[in-house]
Amino acid sequence: MFQAINKIILQGDRKSMKAFFLKYLWIGSLLVLTHAQASNITFQLNLLPVIDSIKIEVFKCYISNLKIETANGQVLNCSPDVFLLTLSDSNATQTIEIQTDADEQSLVGCSILFDLGLDSQLNTSGAMTGALDPLNGMFWTWQSGYIHLKIEGHSLKASDNQMGFEYHLGGYRKPYETQCHQKIFQNTKDMLVVIDLNPFFESGVWKKSPRMMSPGPLAKNLFDRCCSMFKAK
């Protein structure tokens, strides 16, 4: 999908014309100035300790507006900047590769910035492909909009067994929009983000409200709890 092209940019007046040699990456419709620095971010589902009694069959979520903030405060765009994370008990880590306009040195001591969920523009832009393809099972059909975060599973304890849980959390209309900003400090070029489900399940919410499949105040409330799930290793 990536096609590297080189371009010469001319700048200045005729007498002192300067040539700059720059590398570009053409990614989809985005033209991104880059030093062709690829970085990996690995997301890892933390399944311990409360979760040892709960089986997570599906954990899917959108992260968007992915950016890198370097140690000196410079914010760099990444491409692509929307990802669908697809994790579960049996597949608890996922590594995404990003291209960013940063050299290796400036990635030391950086932070990863992203939104959990999608903004209203992405929710209202019609048929899209890639991470946003409705084939990914993250688009509601009965009313338009993406499921921003999906958690499905069941309890392994006999007493809870009948109560599977199914959370399809989303919504982009105010005041029930489900999107929150994340900033995670990292120390290395290859970064690791841990998704800790414990606070969500420790609250016992899945016993009280085991199902949520439409936007609204309860979905927003549950989604907001998920905003504290993402942590640095």
Partner: protein, 335 residues
Amino acid sequence: MKNKLVIIAGLLILTAFTWTKHHYWPKYFPEPVQEKLQTTYTSEMRELGRQLFYDPILSADSSISCASCHNPYTAFAHTDHALSHGIGDSIGKRNAPALFNLAWQSSFMLDGAINHIEVQALAPITAKNEMAETLEHVLLKINRLERYKPYLPKHYPTAAINSSLFLKSLAAFVLSLNSFESKYDSVKRHLSQFTVQEAKGYDKFKQYCNTCHEEPLFTNNSFQYNGLPIVPNRQDLGHYAISLNPKDSFAFKVPSLRNISYTYPYMHDGRLHNLQEVLKHYASGHDRVSMNNQMLTSGFPLSANDQLDVIAFLKTLNDLKFILNKNNQFPLNKG
């Protein structure tokens, strides 16, 4: 070199002055909200969309096509039942709306659940009481068929019809369904005149109906509760289910009144069978007081004769050319 540049610049300026944009819509229409989107579609996509629209393979048991509930001969409405039905004799909770002039709408379905025309088709395809399919399986089925091969645009980067091409093509077709060739339109173009009765009805219409059924589209695309008694066991909350705003309880999209003779039965659940019943409903008023329009509560002061005049006017909104437009009907040339 310099002369050449001057000539080219001159030509460009001349072109800019002489080139006027050709609109497909009448001068008395507003600009379609979907115009920019429409320019991204090709005629090949529209033809693919047309083929898909009439193909029952979109449903789980190949019994229902889009046209089953959106018949071209009734302005793409569903006239034989109050509530539209899907596969296996399942029944829905609404009367399928007519499809035309959708390029002037920014949300779709009677409750406004759909925020973009390209994702509209996902709703009926996956609804258990409509087509009961999955997008994935529909794509698998159509990509197996030889009859879809000619519709694959040459420039398209994939060798198969993917979800994006599928959805955009259906959108291209339904957005192309334009209706503005009624008698009302010919009067607006000064090519015809209303009869005395039609003109009287037009006056009454402008006085009482035009607030919501605003000309020339005959809808203001708002969501309104019009006072119909609530059917408790149907559990259809209307636009409230989408906006979660209590003032939208039981509110449905104001439908266009164009092609009104073809689109019976009336109201979101098809409970009124003819225009006489509709006019009677609006003239009688009702008890509910929490309505946006006070006049709806008290009832419009329309005498029996006034009601007949309004109906005579409404019939000038029928667009027979649209109904008979072969370019919108089942494609016989391919497939």
